[in-house]
């Protein structure tokens, strides 16, 4: 078999797509242990040892307070992405958050939903869908709580089929009938602040419903079975999962194979993800990454690949400017990804991110005094900068531009001094983490 040699480039590719990048140490370690062991580590986690490594996040000297401090919910999750030894679990949780996008709910409910996605994201999809359907944040967001038999609310029923499970292959009658089958949950107020939900049989429509041409006295649990056995379901979900990991075309035969795996494993997610991560398409064009990093992946990846802990709260507003704040998706359809990430405004915010981490972040990203040395030649300047920012991917063209900068930087008639050697380090490091190449993975 050709092309099976497992290299650092392979490791970096799969760590970016299935996580938040690899540190130089991870790249060399997992290149040595091979593809099988690498994918096992991503899929199952380390055999022993802590779930989270590295320094605890601290903002203004204090621990994060995700429930009470504005924006700390996003920082709290970002920190998991940066320090977890199960990066794929966090990346998949981000996928589900985009897939079952929920917003505008109280933080404790959002964190509870986040826990649900994290703990069940690899398991049975019908189980996850059932959990999401009963999740208070989702029920309040899509008006499922207090949808009663007298006047069913169609909001959740419609998105369940359109966005969560099918994408197509249903009718307006199906929407109305599913809405009837999903009646019966009521909201319960606890004082002025918090709400929960409870099941109320008398508000459920017990009559017969006709859904996808079948008729029965369907309950919410029946609806989950009906939609996840609908012929459109498996191809819809496989296509979406594939596109989360690669821009390569999903061929008919690969899609059929994924659908087969999904059904054979009783609609479990993990075997499908494993198959995608093993697929050669994931490792095509290792020298030219072509997916745009989502803002959350950009920020978490920058911190993770350099081992930089979260010590500033700026990431929340920076992510807002880039167009992706965790727990605040723009609508139930999630975020528009791909090239839509790169508006002029979000690109400017990606540059501002570099300004923030290099000047105000923590070591090792923060540039210390004395970072540059006058005795270095151009390549040494560039290599030192590259090492300091976790050796991110650089195209040959960009590398040549940076070597050229280092070559001519001191040719302006001023005597070189150490401050200007430091300035060159700042500039090179900045461009390596903010330039066009840094947006790709």
């Amino acid at each position: 078999m050709r092309g099976h040699r497992w290299s650092e480039d392979h490791v970096r590719r799969v760590f970016w797509r299935a996580g938040f990048g690899a540190t130089p140490r991870e790249a060399s370690h997992f290149a040595r242990v091979g593809k099988g062991a690498t994918l096992n580590w991503l899929l199952d986690g380390p055999a022993h040892g802590p779930q989270m490594v590295g320094h605890q996040p601290r903002v203004k000297g204090r621990r994060l307070d995700p429930v009470n401090e504005y924006g700390h919910d996003a920082l709290w999750w970002l920190d998991r992405m940066v320090r977890s030894q199960r990066p794929l679990v966090e990346r998949l949780t981000l996928f589900w958050h985009d897939h079952f996008a929920t917003a505008d709910q109280d933080t404790p409910l959002m964190l509870r939903q986040n826990h649900l996605m994290r703990s069940r994201g690899f398991g049975s999809f019908p189980g996850l869908l059932n959990g999401i359907m009963r999740d208070p944040a989702m029920q309040f967001f899509l008006s499922l709580a207090d949808s009663t038999k007298d006047a069913p609310n169609e909001n959740f029923a419609r998105e369940l089929m359109e966005l969560f499970a099918l994408g197509g292959g249903y009718t307006e009658t199906d929407v109305r009938e599913v809405a009837r089958a999903l009646t019966g949950w009521r909201s319960v107020r606890h004082g002025s602040r918090s709400r929960s939900i409870r099941w109320s049989s008398k508000d459920h429509d017990p009559g017969p419903k006709t859904i996808f041409g079948h008729t029965g006295k369907y309950t919410p649990r029946d609806v989950i079975e009906l939609v996840t056995h609908h012929p459109a379901h498996a191809p819809f979900l496989m296509t979406k999962l594939w596109a989360a990991f690669t821009n390569e075309e999903l061929t008919t035969s690969t899609r059929r194979a994924l659908v087969d795996t999904y059904r054979r494993h009783d609609r479990r997610i993990k075997p499908v993800v494993a198959e995608i991560l093993r697929h050669p398409a994931l490792y095509s064009r290792l020298d030219a990454p072509d997916m745009i990093k989502p803002p959350v992946v950009l920020v978490a990846g920058l911190l993770r690949t350099t081992g930089t802990p979260i010590t500033i709260s700026a990431y929340t507003w920076l992510l807002d400017q880039m167009g992706q704040v965790p727990f605040r998706p723009p609508s139930v359809a999630g975020w528009d990804g791909g090239t839509a990430w790169l508006s002029t405004n979000s690109m400017r915010a990606r540059v501002t991110l570099a300004n923030q981490v290099l000047a105000w972040g923590d070591a090792p990203l923060k540039v210390p005094k004395g970072a540059g040395h006058l005795a270095w030649n151009a390549r040494q300047h560039v290599t030192a900068a590259h090492d300091a920012v976790g050796r991110p991917w650089l195209s040959a063209g960009a590398h040549a531009v940076l070597v050229d900068v280092a070559t001519t930087f001191f040719d302006d008639g001023h005597p070189p001094d150490r401050d200007r050697a430091d300035m060159l380090q700042k500039l090179l490091r900045h461009l390596m983490i903010s330039g066009p190449d840094a947006q790709l993975h």
């Binding site: 006047a151 169609e154 419609r158 790169l342 002029t344 690109m347 570099a354 300035m423 790709l440």
Partner: protein, 431 residues
């Protein structure tokens, strides 16, 4: 990096576009005055500007503009959302009521603008056999065609046909991301959250180092790339620095207390109003803005708690848009700006059990401006003639409105942009 001849004439700069002018400015080969002069000449001073304001979620026509001559039928359908006889009427249009929140704002808000003949209402707007999915319907409106396929937006296609190849500000989203209405096949377009904070800076560099940084950024952007993602990354890098340079003369200076974009009108608080204020200020400058988009805040997807949510959303809209209109007039540019307000669909006449309404047909839109044709420009749907599924009749197709905007306002052939232009019909929206 290519070397430019510093002796280029103004005509040569003009011929090769403002992008080149700004590159020369960045490299100190041209003064800012010369660049702005070139930009001014390139931006046709009286060119019409079309502003799209999107109300996300599906705005309720019957809640926003209750038909007073059908109030009994309306209240039979909406027990939990009853409309009282005491609500305000649209000035000069006794058949239509107006949500009280739409009377809020300068000069009586949206209702006041209608009374002044500056708003043409388009009740019942939609398309045949409407899709009740937010995302499908929204996509059709964004693209200007009822088709699932992905592709540039309708204003983006207009830019591809009539825009310049080198002015990203010609198509402007006042947002952190570019509106799908404005995505193009090739023409540059921009998203701006705050024009005072658009310039790129490279922390830790100063003096010649900072100049060098800006130059190297351009070089990195220009590295040859292949594939959609890499090309988009290089292009975004180039456009972002260009937008930053174009807007740098307009940044406010808190220390000096100057704000080149400041106008005479006080706006309400909030991000929507701040963005409208910036947009009015930018339109008044010679930047060549032709099409612009802005999303209204609030939750129009009122499946539950409609009274609270709709009031809040319409109030912010009415306050913001009335200030925007007054500002354009005070700056003397109102005659070349037309604002088009739209939502992806309407809502069901019958209310649900959550004090809300589900997705429906026959929505709401309007044109607004000193040159808008005032009045009610389409038929108000009849509550006595609901469709089999209990929805409102569609009384005007959005593609007819788009074709009319392109020809009646932008002055270009609609068929270049809209595949259905030949069959869409036309409607006078402008006077």
């Amino acid at each position: 990096m290519a070397c430019y001849d510093p002796t280029l004439t103004r005509r040569q700069v003009l011929g090769r576009g403002i992008g080149l002018g700004l590159t020369l400015y960045a490299s100190k080969l041209l003064t800012l005055d010369r660049v702005l002069e070139a930009a001014q000449a390139q931006a046709v001073p009286d060119a019409p500007v079309l502003v799209s304001v999107f109300l996300p979620g599906g705005c309720d026509l019957l809640g926003a503009l209750p038909p007073m001559d059908q109030l009994g039928k309306l209240n039979d359908l909406r027990r939990s959302l009853a409309v009282g006889d005491e609500i305000p009427r649209m000035p000069g249009e006794s058949r239509l009521g107006v949500h009280p929140a739409l009377t809020d704002g300068l000069g009586g808000g949206i209702a006041g603008l209608f009374g002044a003949g500056k708003i043409g209402l388009l009740p019942g707007i939609d398309y045949a056999n409407p899709d009740f999915s937010h995302f499908h319907s929204r996509h059709f409106w964004e693209r200007g065609m009822v088709a699932e396929a992905a592709g540039p937006g309708w204003m983006g296609r207009w830019l591809d046909r009539h825009g310049s190849g080198d002015n990203p500000l010609q198509g402007l989203s006042m947002d952190s991301t570019l509106s799908p209405v404005l995505t193009t096949a090739g023409a540059p377009a921009a998203a701006i959250d705050d024009p005072g904070d658009a310039a790129l800076s490279f922390g830790g560099t100063w003096g010649k180092g900072a100049d060098k940084a800006a130059q190297v950024w351009e070089q990195l952007a220009a590295v040859p790339r292949a594939g959609a993602g890499p090309i988009a990354a290089g292009r975004a890098a180039a456009l972002t620095s260009q937008v930053g340079r174009m807007l740098s003369p307009y940044a406010s200076d808190a220390k000096a207390g100057t704000d080149p974009l400041a106008g005479p009108i006080a706006y309400p608080t909030g991000k929507f109003a701040a963005r409208l204020r910036s947009l009015a200020g930018l339109i008044a400058q010679p930047l060549g803005i032709r099409v612009a988009t802005i999303d209204a805040p609030g939750d129009y997807d009122t499946h539950d708690d409609q009274p609270t949510d709709l009031d809040k959303a319409l109030r912010e809209l009415s306050q913001g848009l009335s200030a925007f209109q007054a500002d354009l007039e005070a700056r003397g540019v109102a005659d070349r700006v037309l604002t088009f307000v739209w939502s992806e669909f309407g809502r069901r006449p019958k209310s649900n059990d959550s004090v809300g309404t589900d997705h429906g047909t026959g929505g709401i839109a309007w044109v607004q401006g000193t040159r808008a044709r005032g009045g009610v420009l389409s038929d108000v749907p009849d509550l006595g003639a609901l469709g089999a599924d209990g929805n409102l009749a569609v009384t005007i197709d959005f593609r007819r409105v788009y074709a009319s905007l392109l020809e009646g306002w932008m002055g270009t052939d609609a068929a270049e942009v809209l595949p259905d232009a030949a069959t869409a019909g036309r409607l006078a929206l402008v006077r």
